[in-house]
Symmetry: C2
Subunit: 518 residues, 2 copies
């Protein structure tokens, strides 16, 4: 069933009608497309039918078509004259809980025309998934959340189009990937039962809709693929990520980790896929970001600590005076503190090694990362024992998820060939530091492959590679979802992982070698 | 692929969700329907998704569903609580050029709730098909014709619903059968090329649409099946008629004749179907109705003439004083005149036999059917030689069409087992009279089966028998269309048929026996 076309834009030259071949205009066009697409069913939008007779004759029976596919059904969504400019455009959307990213594409060439992102405007009424689901239960709440995101996307879409002189009505195909709750809110579907046992989404596979039917202002007949979810805690964003990573097509078993609002993990190869989501364990994102900030100029993104002198080498974004620290900086900091012996294997700050960097406030240790005379704020930039404890819980949760998932197929994390890491987390962390604290398994550094925004990447693939559409359904149908909150071993594993790097040091041979105090 | 359900309304009891079975509400419902319908694809309308979570829980997972099918795709168009009243309704529409007939049905029981008809309001701007197609080419003409019929149907639909206390929003399925041009105008598609060589419709198979998308005011998600056409001159009305007659399922070869605006004829059995339409020959309808009137009180519908005395026995509708004559009366009259020897084998009125009934006006013979002292108008009711000549051309065209079609498969009209006659023509003519003048072949009288409004009957079947939907496509795909205006033998046959009953008397043995003057 893999289609014979490499793009969703294809040109057909029709046989002119005659008394011996007097089928209808619609069947003539559909017939040529069926032949080209090797399919039995091509549906032509009713509004296209209305103008078809005039256009076919005006264009001398040469037609450029935008087609799209939903299971075995092909739909013709747009026709124009072969060679017309501009060529039809597509819009890929990564619908994040906190950030929404759009990428405008040329559907014929597959090239990116422009990209932009904006904060999910639902933040203004409810900051996180849970709060939004509760807000959706209040009178008018669901409609308000739906309206915020639809309006936000429409505005961003217009701005993005303007930035590259594209008319929104030239957008004929869209693809959207988001987590299950955000997808529900986008579609105006009530996410109420998603967070209530037994965790039932309204829909797993929204499929292909008319963008106009959900309020998106592209071409009037533009179709929109909504990436399917596997369940309440495993959304279309990760299905898109799997597609983008290609682990579903490789012979060797690889893993994909997406740390966004949840930590979601997929393990597999071309034969099988197994997945779980970290919402069940302590929230990793909360742990990493509570003490930190989003990446911005002056934010510490890399730190190294000299184990001999305990001196800090701090790098900030755009090398501005330091004003805060982001996730990758915190992981570097924890790794450095541990390898320099400034924290013990439980992560406790050790006064004898921390020296004057250690302060006590309200009965809790704080470590000065940047003293006030070197900071942009005029205050000491510090990290508290509670922050470190929180990071340790988060990294333990992460490792436990990886371990639980690999164990479920009789493997250990060290067996993995390739370790894909999605998102900003994947792009910015230093895998060596993450290994040092036992957050990620002790694989060769070059096994770690940052994917960037894999959700957006997968959505864009669906718009540029027709064969992907089958692959999306295959991923969805093949994936086994491991429900962590019904897994008894999880808490035992979690306890063992709450040490630096781990209770079982044999799992981290490279760390054992570097941490000279073992 | 024949579905397992006997109606489009079906009730499913869903397994309640649990941690071990936590698929989405949509998949839970679709899964149960897939099982019941033996299908892979059930699409759930987006608006149903929005209310699905609440309703499933409120109804304790028992759901009455209205489904419909378009090729291999099932669509769920409505859900309600099992046992709710009223049950979902359906509307069958026979879209005639002159008359539109609606039948409201209970989709669960298949029973007719009410029926009504109205003049096609497009008559106000253009009386016939040709004039409407030309009018559609004038500025705003197509939109005007489209609006007239849509508004007309909506008004009639409301009135019909009111007559039986049904709410239009309870109509969830519709089926419409009309000729190709009327179907195009109903859909707002330009019929321009239908009448221009090589006679190309915009669409042959409009398929299943949302009624709301074409402006019909039923349930917001109601689906509407538009019967497919075979070509410009062979419309969905006849496809519906074939379905209703059942000739497509019988072992013996039978024929179906539909005399409406065109004379359309289908010949066949369960293995093959061949069809042609009489638009190519002289217009039969024009011939029969020019001299006559529509059936109404006082209109002569039956006449017999005593061959011995040449006395007329005239019957009028509701036995009122005679004021005119309709098609069946004209055929009776011509048969009577011929069998009494008052016209010769060319249909010429013979003064020696007609006696005082014969008048001459402007150099042409007229026969007094009802003298002024017995008529409702106070004038003689007469039939002219030109009227008889016209009838003879029409009956010759009809016979020639039948002969050409049967000859194309190596048969003669006398070989037919059953002769179905659709429409008012079929319901009211006396087959014996039609045989006497050689309009219909000389078959035993009980071979003739009047079908009534077979177009409406077929449309109603599509709403009450799910298995019909496959049959409609099979009819469309199997039928061979014989183009009469490219057939050379037609004019030779036509010339031979312009005698009473025919040049070749051996084709009409029963007439030869009765016409004592042979």
């Amino acid at each position: 069933m893999t289609p014979d076309i490499t793009r969703w834009v294809t040109t057909v030259a029709l046989v002119r009608p005659s008394l011996r071949d007097n089928t209808s205009d619609a069947d003539r066009l559909a017939g040529a497309l069926k032949k080209q697409l090797s399919t039995d069913v091509v549906e032509i939008d009713f509004e296209i039918l209305k103008k078809l007779p005039d256009l076919l004759r005006q264009w001398d029976y040469n037609v450029r078509c935008v087609v799209f596919r939903d299971r075995d059904r092909w739909v013709l969504t747009h026709i124009d004259r072969s060679g017309d400019t501009p060529s039809p455009a597509g819009l890929a959307i990564d619908l994040g809980t906190t950030r929404v990213v759009l990428r405008l594409l040329d559907l014929a060439s597959g090239k990116t025309l422009a990209e932009s992102s904006f904060d999910n405007p639902q933040i203004s009424v409810a900051p996180d998934i849970l709060a939004r689901i509760h807000h959706a239960d209040t009178p008018g709440g669901l409609a308000q959340l739906n309206d915020l995101i639809i309006t936000g996307i429409n505005q961003a879409l217009m701005d993005l189009c303007r930035s590259c002189s594209t008319d929104p009505v030239d957008i004929h195909l869209l693809a959207l990937a988001g987590n299950t709750a955000m997808t529900h809110l986008f579609l105006g579907l009530n996410p109420h039962w998603i967070i209530r046992e037994p965790y039932i989404p309204v829909v797993n596979r929204p499929g292909v809709l008319k963008a106009a039917d959900v309020g998106i202002k592209a071409a009037p007949r533009a179709r929109m693929l909504i990436f399917p979810n596997i369940g309440s805690y495993f959304g279309g964003d990760l299905v898109a990520g799997i597609l983008y990573s290609g682990i579903n097509k490789a012979m060797d078993t690889a893993i994909l980790v997406d740390v966004g609002t949840n930590a979601e993990v997929v393990l597999g190869n071309s034969s099988w896929l197994i997945a779980c989501a970290g919402a069940a364990g302590p929230a990793l994102e909360g742990g990493v970001t509570r003490m930190g900030m989003m990446a911005a100029p002056g934010v510490i993104d890399r730190i190294s600590i000299d184990p001999a002198t305990c001196e800090f080498d701090v790098h900030t974004i755009e090398e501005k005076l330091p004003c805060g620290i982001c996730g990758s900086g915190v992981i570097d900091l924890a790794a450095g503190l541990f390898l320099a012996g400034m924290v013990d294997i439980r992560g406790r700050l050790l006064p004898e090694k921390c020296g004057t960097r250690l302060q006590e406030k309200n009965g809790m240790h704080h470590l000065v990362v940047v003293p006030r005379d070197q900071s942009a704020t005029g205050y000491d930039l510090t990290i508290s024992q509670a922050d470190i404890d929180s990071l340790i819980r988060s990294k333990a949760a992460m490792y436990t998820i990886l371990e639980t998932l690999t164990a479920s197929v009789g493997m250990v994390p060290g067996d993995l060939s390739t370790f894909y890491v999605s998102g900003t987390f994947g792009s910015f962390i230093n895998p060596g530091s993450a290994i040092s604290i036992g957050m990620l398994p002790d694989l060769p550094i070059n096994s770690y492959k940052p994917l960037g925004n894999s959700s957006l990447g997968g959505a864009a693939m669906a718009l540029t590679s027709p064969s992907c559409v089958d692959e999306i359904d295959r991923i969805r149908d093949r994936i086994t979802y491991l429900e962590l909150n019904v897994n008894q071993e999880f808490m035992n594993r979690f306890s063992a992982a709450k040490f630096l790097p781990h209770t079982d040091l044999s799992l981290f041979p490279s760390v054992k070698k570097r941490a000279t105090f073992f």
